[in-house]
Symmetry: C2
Subunit: 269 residues, 2 copies
């Protein structure tokens, strides 16, 4: 971007809000322009297509994660590992964060068909697994972790935490379905574009019923503890504790959650 | 369905093939009709909307999984557990299976907004976690597993295996993107419906470039071993082995893979 430094960030904040409200498949350049108070033609000046803008957004999100991870690079390895695990915990009230990650999951389903998206996903995977490898290698050197297979451990941890997140966000009633004011209409106005599985044919009744917020799945949708919290606790006890050297105490999940502010609950708000 | 018993299965097979070729967002009733040699009006006679048909398909897939799991209910618990883990291993050549699971992942992103889909996802989650709980409880009773927290272990295992699958399928070059004959066009003809992130605006160039199969990510896309195999091996060593009672041998992943024919590589072909 040749704009002043702030403009690119404002556009990225607009993408973040528009994705949360409309999802990946339905979001338009106009939605994004509305969310960042720019004109649609300005967006098109910088980004030819919605896809180009979304790839730039993925790049922005991953670069932000890189900076956050780098900021903790000198923390003690056990703290860094619990921070990494805590980063993936989605509290029950984190509705906006779930809505954002549902849109990201939609984007991820494009990976097999879209090379620029896939390149960003591969970069993100390397960042996540590389971070765990780095934490484990530092900890082994300092004598706080046993001499384990760091690549295997990294793949296991990343798969576990990502899987818990995917399950939590896909099994939950969404922010819009729950009838939060202003957002509900955004999602349910999009029946003609394939969202809600209509593909343009007559339907939408189910979506409307769903959006009324009178469903009976609330207790199932929001179990206590959440899927991510339950799996993060299990990860600390079952995967991390056996890694620790003799006499090193298992870190607490609460400290880990507090250590890393989620990327999507800070700068992007 | 009031049809003869075979007709419903033929339609479900058609949905399976059409989802693999077109993905969830783009698949049409006509695509499904073409794949099962039925008329579109016959499909609409039984299913009002594409969504209704896809919910019926999810129901069919989950019921099939229930039957497969039930068929192994009397196997020894350690074998059952390795079979469950092996079920999630996607071999590098399992391109069709990946294409199907990408479409399922797209369907899962509708969970927050669509109650009938979410109900099927919740049912699937209960089936998977309930199966692991049942296996562990049987094994604890028989003395082959230690007396562990079965609910925690089930959530951890399901999240881990699902996460590995999601990462493998989203990071891989897809069947169509790789230029397999006949499929390529199916995916790239759909630029106007939101696939490839275009949302109807001018684009498609990236998709076409991607589909040419000349990308440089092949080595990254198909790492050896695959993400699912690497994580399944790690799961057996890191999560399952510590569950085993004294003297019980860790099961092999190969035996587990052989034990359960994947739901999508047998009846649906």
């Amino acid at each position: 971007m040749s704009e002043q430094p702030g403009a690119a960030d404002e556009i990225m904040d607009g993408v973040y809000r528009a994705l949360r409200a409309h999802g990946y498949a339905d979001v338009t350049m106009q939605d994004i322009a509305d969310e960042c108070s720019k004109s649609k033609s300005l967006l098109h000046y910088h980004y030819d297509t919605k896809e180009d803008l979304l790839v730039a957004f993925l790049d922005h999100v991953i670069s932000d994660s890189e900076r956050r991870i780098a900021a903790h690079a000198d923390d003690p390895p056990v703290e860094r590992l619990s921070g990494f695990i805590g980063w993936f915990v989605f509290e029950p009230e984190a509705i906006d964060r779930e809505a954002f990650h549902i849109a990201l999951l939609e984007l991820r389903t494009q990976g097999p068909f879209n090379q620029p998206i896939r390149e960003q996903l591969v970069r993100s995977d390397r960042l996540l697994r590389g971070t765990v490898v780095d934490i484990l290698e530092s900890g082994i050197e300092e004598g706080v972790f046993r001499d384990v297979d760091v690549e295997e451990t990294a793949a296991l941890l990343v798969a576990t935490l990502d899987g818990a997140r995917t399950r939590q966000i896909t099994l939950s009633r969404g922010a819009n379905a729950a009838g939060s004011p202003g957002m509900n209409g955004d999602r349910s106005d999009t029946d003609d574009s394939g969202r809600n599985g209509t593909g343009g044919s007559a339907s939408g009744g189910t979506s409307g019923g769903d959006a009324s917020g009178t469903g009976t799945l609330d207790a199932v949708d929001r179990p206590e503890p959440t899927y991510t919290r339950a799996v993060a606790e299990a990860t600390l006890r079952r995967i991390v504790e056996p890694l620790l050297a003799e006499g090193v105490e298992r870190p607490s999940l609460e400290a880990g959650i507090a250590a890393m502010t989620p990327v999507d609950e800070d700068e992007n708000e």
